[in-house]
């Protein structure tokens, strides 16, 4: 089994420009330090119809009010609100691409907390197996225990193609006696992702799931 950079076509070049936009890194950095309610707020804002900050402050009083959060937490929430509104203000088509890139960057940043060798847009090749066209969003290229992640903004993005590709990779790695951990990262509620998975007939019993409430676990080394 070996990792390889994905081939770059016109679409990936455009998307690479979005991935490299400092706004993506800024939002991901804020999300990496955020609490679950703050991440819920960011998701709502980046999915939202309205872009007036006062509306979102009213919708999330526990983050912005005079409650127990304290000034440092309120400041963090304000920064995340402002950055999320920048994404929302990019318009419908662009915001879809930004949101995807943000989940990937957040995943990479959380994984890097373990000191792991984290890479992006990589294919995984196996001897005698036809290579998948689509690269994995984020990989951890540890010889001892490699990992591959597919990142989704919403649970709706979980489909049979994604699940099959992840499980095929895990299975092919096992054929080479390599334990490849595969998982989906979804910036959405766990419950919604679990509902999505329950209906899927694709193999996913050994595919991990990291959702809005559990995404911090990416930064914790598995024992």
């Amino acid at each position: 089994m070996r990792f390889q950079d994905a081939a770059r076509d016109a679409r990936t070049v455009v998307y690479a420009g979005i991935q490299a936009d400092p706004l993506v890194g800024r939002v991901a950095a804020l999300l990496a330090e955020a609490t679950c309610p703050e991440r819920l707020m960011a998701r709502a804002v980046m999915n939202g119809e309205r872009t007036e900050p006062e509306i979102w402050r009213r919708m999330f009083p526990s983050l912005f009010g005079e409650g127990p959060a304290g000034p440092a937490a309120r400041d963090r929430a304000e920064q995340l609100l402002a950055a999320s509104l920048e994404v929302a203000n990019r318009g419908d088509q662009a915001r879809n691409q930004y949101r995807g890139a943000i989940v990937e960057e957040l995943t990479a940043r959380l994984l890097a907390r373990r000191g792991a060798l984290v890479k992006r847009e990589r294919r995984i090749l196996f001897d005698g197996v036809r290579a998948e066209i689509h690269p994995y969003d984020v990989t951890v290229e540890s010889p001892a225990r490699p990992e591959a992640y597919d990142c989704k903004w919403g649970a709706r993005g979980i489909d049979a193609d994604v699940l099959n590709q992840l499980d095929d990779a895990r299975s092919h790695a096992a054929d080479e006696e390599i334990e490849l951990a595969v998982a989906i990262v979804v910036f959405d509620a766990s419950r919604s992702a679990e509902l999505r998975l329950e209906r899927s007939t694709a193999r996913h019993e050994r595919t991990g799931l990291f959702a809005l409430e559990t995404i911090d676990r990416l930064g914790v080394r598995a024992s």
């Binding site: 999330f60 009083p61 509902l195």
Partner: protein
């Protein structure tokens, strides 16, 4: 009805309307149904939780803003995203952690 029950009844009606919009994405009918069947009872169940305490003005305003927000959605694809997000906002506003 209590203020809490009234508010959550309004939230549930708004959520049901959002689900009807989302259902127009035919390929996702099953997922929309699953989300609605999971979350709608949870929203209504919040009416019975902590019913002895009056709601704060902030909590009422938060839920009302969320109801207005989902009422503005015209895109059924965005509606699917909000079927998953709205219940969490309502629960957070009313002091719950998640639905």
């Amino acid at each position: 009805m209590t203020e809490r029950a009234d508010l959550l009844e309004s939230a549930a009606r708004a959520y049901q309307a959002l689900a009807e919009l989302a259902e127009t994405v035919e390929d996702e009918w099953q997922y929309v149904t699953d989300l609605t069947e999971a979350y709608l009872p949870s929203i209504l169940a919040l009416a019975g939780a902590d019913s002895g305490r009056p709601l704060s003005d902030e909590a009422v305003a938060a839920v009302q803003e969320a109801i207005v927000e989902i009422g503005l959605i015209a895109d059924p694809h965005r509606a699917i995203d909000w079927l998953s997000t709205f219940p969490g906002i309502v629960a957070l506003a009313l002091g719950g952690s998640e639905l």
